[in-house]
Symmetry: C2
Subunit: 337 residues, 2 copies
């Protein structure tokens, strides 16, 4: 799916005051990164490394794993498609959903017909490859790390692909990356977009046991990661922007309570973003109304498989901005419900 994702602020040039349609913090201080980029503009005149080994070594070093347990990709999406190409052929793919559409799309592109399941255990009992986003997009549901770790150990014949893109925005226990790299039936996906608030860079990585990484690297085309993106990623690993996670989680919890109290159906979320359903009308109509009347952008979530035309997703931003959305949602429910 190339259209219909969130953070489509590029469609509404000049109309948006606050962007809640993303699932990341909108106001990181990226000034140090920009200064670094200004010093590296010569990158355009040289080929990047054919494979981003320098960045892989740097990340592996920081993460305490060995460099053949990591593979850098052009964003997590690239990782998802690479895994699907390698593992989907002739195997039963199970997706724990509703969730990010690209797991299913990548499986379909690889000639597979994935099936959705409501939890990882059901998926593991019925599929050879299990795709799980943890914490989950769009609802912020966090699967318990201990339970998940036990499931992975128990189902050796199942390959678990676990997208941890949102784990930096969540206080729930995380799977131990180093321990997981010792299992040959789990691949963890990591997003620099989410971790460092840089969706424009297109860099992500996966960590897994060496034999899985070696196998996945065979699908890599040369020069897949832009040279500036790669060097920016190295910089960010050492100089991460500060993300006010505690504030965002407190605000998310407050927004969930207030919006639920108005009559919206809110799914409890452990992250900075959460899923709601309007009591009447459609998310698409609500989204257009919020843009037109308040300059606020939400994510129409009706195109997630398993959700309805009433579902939308919101990511907490600054307190005063969140208040604007809360007030606008109250105004809308008063008018139309």
């Amino acid at each position: 799916m190339t259209e219909g994702h969130g953070d489509d602020v590029y469609r509404y040039a000049g109309q948006i005051k606050v962007n809640f349609s993303t699932n990341i913090w909108q106001y990181p201080d990226l000034s140090a990164l920009k200064r670094f980029m200004m010093s590296r503009l010569d990158f355009v005149a040289s080929y990047p490394e054919p494979e981003p080994y320098s960045l892989e070594r740097h990340l592996a070093d920081r993460l305490g794993i060995v460099d053949d347990q990591i593979m850098v990709t052009a964003g997590v999406t690239d990782a998802i498609y690479t895994i699907a190409r390698d593992m989907a052929a002739g195997r039963r793919c199970g997706i724990v959903g509703p969730t990010f559409a690209e797991y299913a799309d990548a499986c379909v592109a690889a000639g597979n017909e994935p099936v959705y399941f409501s939890d990882a255990e059901k998926a593991a009992s019925n599929a050879d490859v299990v795709w799980l986003c943890n914490p989950n997009n769009p609802d912020g549901r966090a699967t318990d790390a201990g339970w998940l770790s036990a499931l992975i150990s128990d189902r050796q014949s199942v390959m678990f692909v676990i997208d941890t893109a949102y784990s930096d925005y969540c206080r729930a226990g995380k799977l131990d990356m180093r321990a997981m790299s010792g299992h040959d039936n789990v691949i963890l996906l990591h997003s620099l977009t989410k971790q460092f608030c840089v969706p424009g860079l297109r860099v992500g990585y996966m960590t897994a046991a060496s034999e899985n990484i070696r196998r996945l690297r065979r699908h890599r085309m040369p020069w897949a990661v832009n040279a500036l993106a790669s060097s920016c990623a190295e910089f960010l690993v050492d100089n991460p922007p500060v993300i006010p996670v505690d504030m965002l989680l407190a605000e998310s919890a407050r927004m969930q309570r207030e919006i639920a109290s108005m009559g919206y159906d809110v799914t409890p979320s452990a992250t900075n973003f959460f899923l709601c359903a309007a009591p009447a009308g459609t998310a698409a109509g609500l989204k257009e109304w919020l843009v037109a009347h308040h300059g606020l952008l939400i994510r129409d979530a009706s195109n997630f498989t398993g959700l309805t035309s009433r579902h939308f997703r919101v990511a907490a931003q600054r307190k005063e901005e969140n208040d604007l959305l809360i007030d606008a949602l109250r105004e809308w429910i008063g008018k139309y419900c």
Copy 2:
């Protein structure tokens, strides 16, 4: 093949005075592009368009084609792999070679076993999909555009994939892109890397009939082209750096003559780069000797399928630099042959 390509200057930090291993001009004035980039560093904080439609419209407008006859990719390599995935399955793939390794690698990655042919007509008589680099890498051979156009018209059941990456460095007649977009059996590949001397950006595009582009776009994953790369490409289309093509072609011709006169076997080239074979020893040995004794980097071409351990490729640069290489090659042949 991710390792073993040319322009591996990143391996020899600080040792290289002149890089002949690339096939592009090393000294474009990219100062306007860099000023533009400095004004666009905010790109890191926002998702790019899911598909690079703005750049596609802009390019189509400049090229005089319609915007569903163009597909922008993350470099030509991405285009090659996308086409291979779509067209290679179950079809006979013929490659006109020796040539760029990625055509074969992309076919193999798609589960195909491509066969090499010495010219496009033989390939078209024995394959369903013909891959041709014109002018060709590594030898600069230019296939006549009129002859090729007639072959394309004559073999309606064969899909021709023609990589025109080097056509801006060649005065031989080119296929008419607009006319070719009217044929449903040809896809042209275009490289911004080569056209604008920006290998670090990773942007390319293909042009073809609308029905082929629609089909290929279905393979596109979202956000495949980095946001800064996409906006830089738009800038470059309107503000291309000046490439001294006439000087480079004259220097290439002079170098070919002088190097051939020493006893190297030089394949006549219509472009700024050309292929040589050492009369003795190996290209790998010559390459290391040139780096160690003169700080000059050439492309060991022995890993092109169909070439030998003695083959290397050189791209003309500035006259005085070319003289350094000519002198060094003369010294080597005096010492070792």
